[in-house]
C-alpha cells in the first residue's frame, strides 16, 4: 500500500532522497551518486521491479540545473507507479550513473536519452546513439534545437557526392501543429502556428 507511512519508511535514513509532490504518482528526488543503490533497493526490497520508462527533461538555459533524468517504475504488488527524479549536476556536460546494471531494460532507454539530450550515463556498457547516426553533431530534443533541424552533411559521404543531397532544415509551411501553451491543455486546441517561410518570404534568422 502506497501511503504516507510507506513514503516515510522509504525516506527514513536515506538523506539522499526527498519527497517531491506530484498529482499523478509518488515522486522521489534522488541524488545522482546514490541512484544505482536506490534502484537496487526498490527492485529487491520494495517490489518496484519493472522499469517502465527512462527519459530526461530539459528545463531550459535559464534553469539552475538544466537537465533532469526521470525514471518510472511499476510494482505489480502495490499496483502503483513510482517516479524517481534526478537532477544532473553539470549543465555543460550532464552526466548521471547508468542503472542498466540493475535494470537491463534501461540500456536502450539510456542510449535514446543520450542521443536526444546528450546526457552521459556513466558505466553504460554501450553508450552510443540509437536513433540518429553516430556522427550527428547535435542533440535534437534540447530546447535550443529547432524542430526543422540544422543543415549538416548526409551521413554517407559517397551518397552525398553522387546525389548532391544533404540534411536540410525542413520547411515549416503551415506548422508546427502544437497547442499554444498559455492555457490549460484541455481548453487550448492544438493549432498550426504557420511559421511559414517560402521563396517569397525568407526564413527569419
Amino acid at each position: 500500500m502506497i501511503d504516507d507511512d510507506f513514503v516515510k519508511s522509504l525516506l527514513n535514513g536515506r538523506d539522499y532522497l526527498s519527497f517531491k509532490h506530484h498529482e499523478d504518482c509518488l515522486t522521489i528526488n534522488c541524488l545522482p551518486e546514490s541512484l544505482v543503490d536506490f534502484t537496487k533497493h526498490l527492485r529487491d526490497e520494495e517490489t518496484f521491479d519493472l522499469l517502465v520508462d527512462l527519459t530526461a527533461v530539459d528545463h531550459g538555459d535559464g534553469a539552475e540545473k538544466r537537465f533532469s533524468v526521470v525514471l518510472h517504475f511499476y510494482s505489480l504488488v502495490h499496483k502503483s507507479y513510482l517516479r524517481i527524479h534526478v537532477l544532473c549536476p553539470d549543465n555543460e556536460a550532464p552526466c548521471i550513473p547508468s542503472v542498466s546494471s540493475v535494470f537491463p531494460a534501461a540500456n536502450w532507454h539510456e542510449r535514446e536519452t543520450f542521443d536526444m539530450f546528450g546526457i552521459n550515463f556513466l558505466d553504460h556498457p554501450n553508450l552510443k546513439r540509437i536513433l540518429m547516426w553516430d556522427d550527428y553533431p547535435y542533440f535534437p530534443l534540447r530546447k535550443e534545437f529547432p524542430l526543422a533541424g540544422i543543415e549538416v552533411p548526409l551521413p554517407a559521404a559517397d551518397v552525398a557526392e553522387v546525389t548532391g543531397a544533404d540534411v536540410d532544415p525542413a520547411p515549416m509551411m503551415g506548422g508546427p501543429f502544437v497547442a499554444s501553451g498559455n492555457s490549460r491543455m484541455s481548453e487550448a486546441e492544438p493549432r498550426a502556428k504557420d511559421e511559414s517561410w517560402t521563396e517569397k518570404s525568407e526564413k527569419p534568422l
Partner: protein
Amino acid sequence: MISNEVGYNSKVEGEVIVTRADSVINWIRKHSVWPMPMGLACCAIELMASAASRYDISRFGMEVMRFSPRQSDCMIVAGTVTYKMAEVVRRIYDQMGDPKWVVAMGACASTGGMYRSYAVMQGVDNVVPVDVYVSGCPPRPEALLDAMMKLQGKIGNESSVRNLSNKPEPTGVA
C-alpha cells in the same frame, strides 16, 4: 465467307509480325515488372494489401515482389525516408540492374509528408530518380495500382533501343 477474325491471322500473314523493336521490348518489360518493396512505414501495409487477393496486383503482371534488389527492376518506396535510411535506399537502388524504375508511394516518400522534422528527408527524390509519385497518407491500394499502370504507360513510351546504345556511365555508390 466473311471472316469475323480481327488482328493477327497466321494463315494470311505467314507467321510474321512487323513491328518496332522498341514496341516489343517495352511490351515485354511493362508486363513483367518485378517490384522491390522498400517498405519503410505504414504505406508498406497498403502495399501488401495491393498484392493480396482483394486488389491483386498480379492482374498487371507485377506480383513477383522480390526482396533482393538484384532480382527486381522497380523500387516502390513505401514510407517515411529518414536521413539515416536515405543512404540505404540509394545503395539498394544502385544494386538494381538496369532498366529500373522508382515509385514514391505516399506523402512521406514523395515530400516528407507530415514529418517536417530534423530527421526526415523531404522527398526520396533527393537521392533516387522517381518516375511516379503517389499521393495519399497512406494511398489506397487502388491508387498504387493506378500509379503502377501509369508506370506501365511510361515504360511503354521509352526509347529502349536508343537507351541501350547511349547508356550513360554508371554513377553507383554501392
